[in-house]
């Protein structure tokens, strides 16, 4: 898939991703109407399915509100690429099936409006303007399995259903 890059800085917090004044609802489509509006008033009107958010360190810091990844996902964004993620957001994104990738190099080289092609399975990102391809570090196997199931709920359903109650592999990479 490919889409336009929306570029942001470090420490994008959950209050700007979805301001608390809209937390009196929890349906993803309603939340998406206000995604990023305090820092990026044009975002909601112009974001297209397949677009990519590219941000610096500690993306999603602040509140535990799952409304944040839900709003981003429902707005059509296909993937968030950041130098690093705040830990609760990291878990929430994986649990709710919002694709995320950690890759500081992409963040450094990408400009607002660049066209990016993301291949989640291969973990690669290609910048169509600069013709550069980047490889991201793979997630630990346990987290990969959650993602492959489509999130924590289907993953847990499968396990509760008696299917393979495997133990957790110790993996590298940024945990929760």
């Amino acid at each position: 898939m490919s889409g336009t890059a929306w570029k942001y800085g470090d420490n994008v917090d959950t209050d700007v991703i979805i301001p608390a004044r809209y937390l009196n609802v929890s349906t993803p489509n309603e939340l998406a109407q206000h995604c990023m509006e305090d820092v990026s008033p044009g975002f909601v009107g112009s974001v297209r399915p397949g677009d990519v958010i590219v941000a610096g360190e500690n993306f999603g810091c602040g509140s535990s509100r799952e409304h944040a990844p839900l709003a981003i996902k429902a707005s059509g964004v296909a993937c968030v690429v950041a130098s690093s993620f705040a830990r609760i957001f990291y878990r929430n994104a994986i649990n709710t099936g919002l694709p995320i990738l950690e890759c500081p190099e992409v963040v450094q080289d990408t400009e607002q409006g660049d066209q990016l092609r993301v291949d989640l399975e291969a973990g690669t990102i290609r910048n169509l303007r600069t013709q550069q391809t980047y490889h991201t570090s793979p997630f630990p196997p346990f987290i990969m399995r959650i993602m492959e199931c489509g999130g924590l709920i289907p993953f847990t359903r499968q396990r509760l259903g008696g299917a393979e109650r495997s133990s957790i592999d110790t993996g590298e990479g940024p945990g929760d």
Binding site: D13, T96, L152
Partner: protein
Amino acid sequence: MPHTIAEKILADHLKDSGRDAPSEPERELWPGDLVEVAVDVVLANDVTAPIAIREFANLGVDRVFDPSRVVMVADHFVPNKDIKSAEQCRVMREFARSQELVHYYDVGRMGIEHVLLPEQGLVVSGDVVVGADSHTCTYGAVGAFATGMGSTDIAVAMATGQIWMRVPETIQVVYHGELRPWVGGKDLILFTIGQIGVSGALYKALEFSGPAMEGLSMAGRFTMSNMAIEAGAKVGLFQTDEMTCSYLDARAARPYVKYKADSAATYSQVLEIDVGLVEPQVAFPYSPDNARPVGEADDVVIDQVVIGSCTNGRLEDLRVAAEVMKGHQVHSNVRCIVIPGTQRVYTEALREGLLEVFVEAGAAVSTPTCGPCLGGHMGVLAAGERAVSTTNRNFRGRMGHPDSEVYLAGPAVAAASAVKGRITGPEEVLLQAR
């Protein structure tokens, strides 16, 4: 092998080790290990519970793992600010009733969750607590491995009594020296976050230790653990000492296990802070790590002051604020809002005459609620307005309009600023004749 508090608590909660037999069988954990642990308490509030309940239903499970260990508190948008928040609260209330949750708190009995749970003795030393609220880390002050998560994680924890975690590395912060007058837990944690930054402890545990912590009140410790997340940390732990035990013995509903770190434990970083050098702090917008001594904020004129929240809504905080405000008037250009953290804090503040001090000074006193802390209700800011607040976040738009500003401070600075109409320390007010 020597271990940090975080490693020890998680090892004792490995799902095979059994809750009743801590440390048996002994298995060691190291930072980076991905583990599944048993949880002692699961928490959600009126904002996060509705999504957790929806996902719980999607799991196809009928009952929560233990109705006495799933706690729900209506605190964010209550008393309900509008129809939509009333509907969200109803979802939670109906779930709590149908699941027969023992600890469900609604208007008139509730408090802000992170003041309420320790006060009610629901979280104790050695617990693993997960909450669908980022400030769940507050309970590190009583020696609990407590951390915030999203609603989906909480749904799974409610159903299974277990959660997956990555064992964090630990940063030790050692505090030495004598506290200056009017310096409390809030000033120390703002100063610390100012040193390490809002991502300084990302994916890590913080351990607060050192001689200066021994003299800090439980309220001060709660304030510090509460803001561990503001440095990106997963938990902010204190060792369980005499002060913790006397706090817990007066209220704990369950037996507890004491933990302290081994002296040879491995830390990813050790930070030494001489508290004698720390002045009352103010964190400027729009980041909690933008902390400066109060003297540098002298010319900042304000419109509102909020005293309360899960950070500073305890009785000790209200006492400090009342001590500064007593006999003075809130500045004519300032709206001052005081919110006791729980019903009990409210009653005790009433008995001690603190609420009278606030009301006579021209402040508004509210029933417990998160309200203004997250820009929900009870004191939302207009464009260009500035507030001094004892809350924990000053992100853009946190308390209202994206062009409003929040300055974070402790209760002494907040009360003094309310009187003066601009940011100032308590000395200036106390020197002035009443």
